[in-house]
């Protein structure tokens, strides 16, 4: 099983390592050569320096044989476009796209893109965490 991770920052590199551990053959793509360091010294997967918008870079990373693509660069709109290129041009059904903006994440989900919004998750988790706090009744009354 081959996966491509576009954007090898904090999130992308961690996903790449996690998938490798789970038995995937992973190639990461990042504009910045130094991002390779995030994958650790023992990185056995592939790494391509380049921009995810560049189809030649995607091909070099092996997108034509890929079973899954994770798009997690630091630009929401770049992710939206690269995700659609992977899905529509290269026909990769399992394309997962990180979109920080919850509104765009929701909209593109309705357009058929598998989107993940860490911001929505944070909002959910933070509100739940507060709701689960035990607040003394006196303080509630005082405020």
């Amino acid at each position: 099983m081959k996966a491509i991770v576009v954007g090898c920052g904090r999130v992308g590199s961690a996903v790449a390592k996690k998938l490798t551990k789970a038995g995937w053959d992973v190639t990461a793509i990042d504009e910045n050569e130094e991002a390779l360091a995030r994958l650790g010294e023992n990185w056995s997967g592939g790494f391509v320096v380049g921009h995810g918008m560049d189809v030649d870079v995607l091909r070099e990373a092996g997108i034509e044989e890929a079973d899954a693509v994770v798009v997690a660069t630091n630009g929401d709109n770049t992710n939206i476009v690269v995700g659609q290129v992977a899905q529509k041009r290269f026909g990769i059904e399992c394309t997962v796209v990180r979109i920080l903006d919850p509104a765009r994440a929701e909209l593109y989900a309705t357009l058929g893109l598998r989107t993940v919004s860490p911001t929505s998750t944070a909002i959910e988790v933070l509100s739940e965490a507060v709701k689960s706090c035990v607040v003394k009744p006196a303080r509630v009354a005082a405020s």
Partner: protein, 220 residues
């Protein structure tokens, strides 16, 4: 018309000014602070501050009315694609025009159905190709929606097609000769038309068939 312009750089602000002079209603969105101050001076409330790829910014600019036309002319291709896609898919805007900054991104615009597009580089290249005779296959017109283009070639003495009838040419599937200009007269060729040295031939074809067509008509 109500026209929404995303991107208040040179292109966006000049468009806004021109359209206002033609009495169109224009709203222009710009993100960069310095630029916004200038735009506000000129366009007042019609200048909106913010990231035009944020849905609430688009809404503040009136995208939900919806505009008759959305023009995305920021310096970022991904932004232009997303703005047009959202305007169409989410807000039912019928007409969009997008600027292509890097011509290598053109296929992405096409893939996402963002059309028509305008690329300064592409336009200038087409003019150069028209001027420079070395480029033996001249692009005259691109019908992007129809996925067709019209090109012009000149038959010279080394061309394998010189002296042949159209019916004897192995023209690529998805291409057709539409006119032959000889001695100042254009004629619509049929199967019996014989090509001669010096003929200027117009052909219509699907993009990507240029090389095949070049081989049949010109070789080299």
């Amino acid at each position: 018309m109500f026209i929404l312009i995303a991107g208040g750089g040179k292109v966006g602000s000049n468009l806004a000014r021109t359209l206002r002079r033609m009495n169109h209603e224009v709203t222009i969105i710009e993100q960069r602070g310095v630029r916004v101050t200038q735009l506000e001076e000129e366009f007042e409330h019609a200048a909106i501050v913010g990231d035009a790829t944020e849905i609430f910014v688009l809404e503040r600019a009136g995208v939900a009315r919806p505009p008759d036309l959305v023009v995305a002319v920021t310096g970022d291709d991904e932004d232009n694609m997303v703005i047009c896609q959202m305007a169409r898919e989410r807000f039912g805007v019928e007409k969009v025009i997008a600027r292509v900054n890097d011509p290598r991104n053109q296929p992405h615009f096409d893939l996402l159905g963002v059309s028509p597009t305008v690329s300064a580089t592409q336009t200038i290249m087409a003019l150069i190709e028209h001027e420079v005779p070395e480029h033996e296959l001249i692009h005259l017109l691109e019908l992007r929606k129809e996925n067709l283009e019209i090109v012009e070639v000149q038959i010279d003495k080394d061309s394998p097609s010189a002296g042949k009838r159209v019916s004897g040419l192995k023209l690529p599937v998805g291409s057709r000769l539409i006119s032959v200009m000889r001695g100042g007269h254009a004629e619509i060729p049929d199967a019996e038309t014989q090509l001669e040295v010096g003929d200027q031939v117009l052909a219509i074809l699907e993009p990507g068939k240029e090389d095949e067509l070049r081989r049949v008509l010109l070789k080299k």
